[in-house]
Amino acid sequence: MSNLIVSYAPHIRSAKSTKQLMADVIIALIPALVASVYFFGLPALVHTVVCVLSCVFFEWIWERAFKLPSTIGDLSAIITGILVAFNMPVSAPYWLGITGSAFAIIVVKMFFGGLGSNFVNPALAGRAFMLLCWPVLMTKWTVPDFTMSFVTDAVSTATPLGVLAESGQMPYSYLSLFLGNIGGCIGEVSALAILIGFVYLLIRKVITWRIPVIYVLTVFVLTEILGGDGLYYILSGGLMLGAVFMATDYVTSPMSATGHIIYAVGLGVLTVVIRMFGSLPEGVSYSILLMNIVTPLIDTYTKNRIYGKPKTGGKSHE
């Protein structure tokens, strides 16, 4: 009894630490991983393992080199690794994933101070880096291969959005798009698998519905207004993966409900503009990176109205 602990209240804490939240995100990514292995064969899994190990390694070596406390225990590097792999075509060489992971972890995450201090999503910045430096390797698509062979020998093809941008044709059925029987990056093809992960994240209260749902709805509505096929657009490309797993990144998305709405609508508008009017077939990654940069500004203008303060719109903190 002589050693009673004295500390400030509160004396109880929520069960959800960062590690547990991150573990939930990893669990939510598993359906998409299973789908990618089903459609692309074992190389999809090898890519994922390579990127995860690289990300964890780079974070560990950086913190060791600079004598910083190790943060690999928070599991966030594992998520970055999975997402870097998910954003690559399965035909890419393995060294590309290692390079992308190094850029994501060292340049985007650790240069700025680690988890919480990065201003854009590390995995997406890694993807943008790979796309700029090795555009050919990053856009060599294969049709899904059902043989589960270790070596991908499937024929080259184009993504649904690639075909649409090139020729204006929509060669895939909605069902194929929904299930994932299409060309594309490792983790983005199966809308179904991603939605299973989304439902899990909602049930576990890791994220709210706002950003993914509003983002996807904005893309759908805007595409329809501009004369496109909304359903085809939302089921193809990286939209589902981006909306559920990357736009919702805590660090780089706004904090308030109003902020979520502005951010998600902004994402939708940018995505549709890039897809329909830009020279690129796909715009999800750049949309999210751009809106990541706008996030601090959104946070500044969407503060809650403080209890007991008169109604003055968004300027309650002034």
Partner: protein, 446 residues
């Protein structure tokens, strides 16, 4: 029916099942009773007795000239054996009157038995025929303070500024702190006293409406009070959503009336008086029996306690005697808390006396819930969602780390009431409340 609530808040595991069905039993006062002169917000009392004096149960032993203060009384009959500084459960030390209990419980002559017939007609007559001033005077003389924990002298609340008439009295039966069940048991066991107390408070301030507000995790208490209050048309039962900090004064006002107390203001500014349910029952006893506040319900709980219990406890007995009465400890406690786990005050010793504001004493064995290290903010925004004052705890904690007084002011750090919701929810286990406490001191001293 739509549940009343406020924006923000958290849902901790309430852990009330340990004691919510355990009836209140009297705790036998110990041989030595230590009565602190500081048991309330405001000026501490000075002893009005001397060493060697014989005192009776309910006799005033300390008082103060100050308006914001409340007299203290002996909770037993016996002899004053010492007047000295003694450890205080609120931290530090306080001047205390030490009484040797003679175990006769000889009542002070002013105190009468409960002689009020409890038919509703009779209660209405009694309330109609008593003067407001008499109620306020009796409440002051009885030393009644808010028993929810803050211990603000009630007679001060009963004399609001002239330009702020009170129209609504809210009886706070939310009891939103986990583990605590002392108010819950009071509502189940003394509902009529609570209703009578609320009518007296309403009469004292000239209000028109009484809302007894209870969280919906206490359906039995809601039912009992609905039945007991059905004859009194001015009393309504407000059913609140179970959420922490629903029992916080500003949040319960917002939930029940939709009004918001202005920043830095008192509830009277929006025409509301909030009082704890057990306080109301003390008001009834003070007015009907002249009985001062010398005993109260205390929950003794936590994972280290052998038999978690609810006791009727005299002020001045030690925490140690409460744990002893609850069967002692089944494992060695690592932390002892006065109050609930969200805002309670940790103790360095068990040899501190029970004071008027002690709703519970808890003993915990689990060290991992206390956390030694914090991470950096990952901007998840969970604290922003949780803050019942709608502040940005994440930003405040970082400004506090940088001692940025200008930013702290701009982000209204002084509106924080330290409910702990942000610390509770933070996945990085940041010490939000500590940072904000430091920040408040910085701003106040700037």
């Amino acid at each position: 029916m739509r549940l009343k609530t406020f924006k923000g808040g958290i849902h901790p595991n309430d852990s009330k099942e340990l004691t919510k069905n355990v009836p209140v039993v009297p705790h036998i006062p110990t041989e030595t009773i230590i009565i602190p002169m500081r048991q309330h917000i405001g000026a501490p009392c000075e002893p009005v007795v001397q060493i060697g004096d014989e005192v009776l149960m309910g006799q005033k032993i300390g008082d103060s000239e100050a308006f914001v203060s409340a007299p203290v009384h002996s909770s037993v009959s016996g002899t004053v054996v010492d007047i000295k500084m003694y450890p205080h459960p609120g931290g530090g030390e306080s001047k205390c009157v030490v009484i040797q209990n003679d175990f006769n419980d000889t009542l002070y002559p002013d105190i009468k038995p409960w002689n009020l017939d409890v038919s509703s007609k009779n209660i209405k007559n009694f309330v109609a025929n008593i003067q407001s001033k008499e109620i306020v005077d009796k409440v002051r003389e009885a030393g009644i303070v808010g028993m929810g924990g803050a211990a603000f002298p009630l007679h001060v609340k009963l004399t609001p500024p002239k330009d702020n008439p009170i129209d609504t009295v809210i009886l706070n039966g939310a009891e939103c702190e986990p583990y605590l069940t002392s108010d819950h048991r009071a509502m189940l066991e003394n509902p009529l006293q609570i209703v009578i107390g609320s009518l007296l408070i309403k009469k004292a301030v000239g209000a028109s409406r009484i809302v007894i507000a209870i969280e919906n995790n206490k359906p039995d208490a809601i039912k009992v009070l609905q039945e007991v209050s059905s004859d009194f048309e001015e009393v309504e039962i407000g059913i609140l959503k179970t959420k922490y900090p629903q029992g916080s004064e500003k949040q319960i006002i917002n939930a029940v009336t939709g009004r918001q107390v202005p920043s830095g203001g008192l509830p009277s500014a929006v025409g509301v008086l909030v009082s704890n349910v057990d306080t109301a029952s003390s008001v009834a006893k003070a007015v009907v029996m002249n009985l001062p506040l010398i005993e109260r319900n205390v929950t003794v709980s936590g994972d280290a306690v052998m038999n978690p219990s609810n006791f009727k406890v005299r002020t001045g007995v030690t925490f140690a005697s409460l744990f002893e009465a609850a069967g002692g400890f089944k494992v060695e406690p690592k932390k002892i808390i006065m109050g609930g786990p969200m805002m309670g005050i940790p103790q360095v010793t068990l040899n501190v006396p029970v004071i008027k504001g002690v709703s519970g004493v808890l003993a915990f064995s689990e060290p991992e819930t206390f956390g030694k290290e914090e991470g950096i903010c990952i901007k998840c925004g969970k604290c922003v969602d949780a803050c019942p004052m709608r502040l940005m705890p994440n930003a405040l904690s970082m400004f506090a780390e940088n001692s940025d007084v200008e930013k702290l002011k701009k982000y209204h750090v002084l509106d924080c009431m330290e409910c702990g919701s942000c610390s509770f929810i933070c996945p990085q286990r940041r010490f939000m409340v500590q940072h904000i406490k430091k920040a408040k001191a910085l701003v106040k001293n700037s």
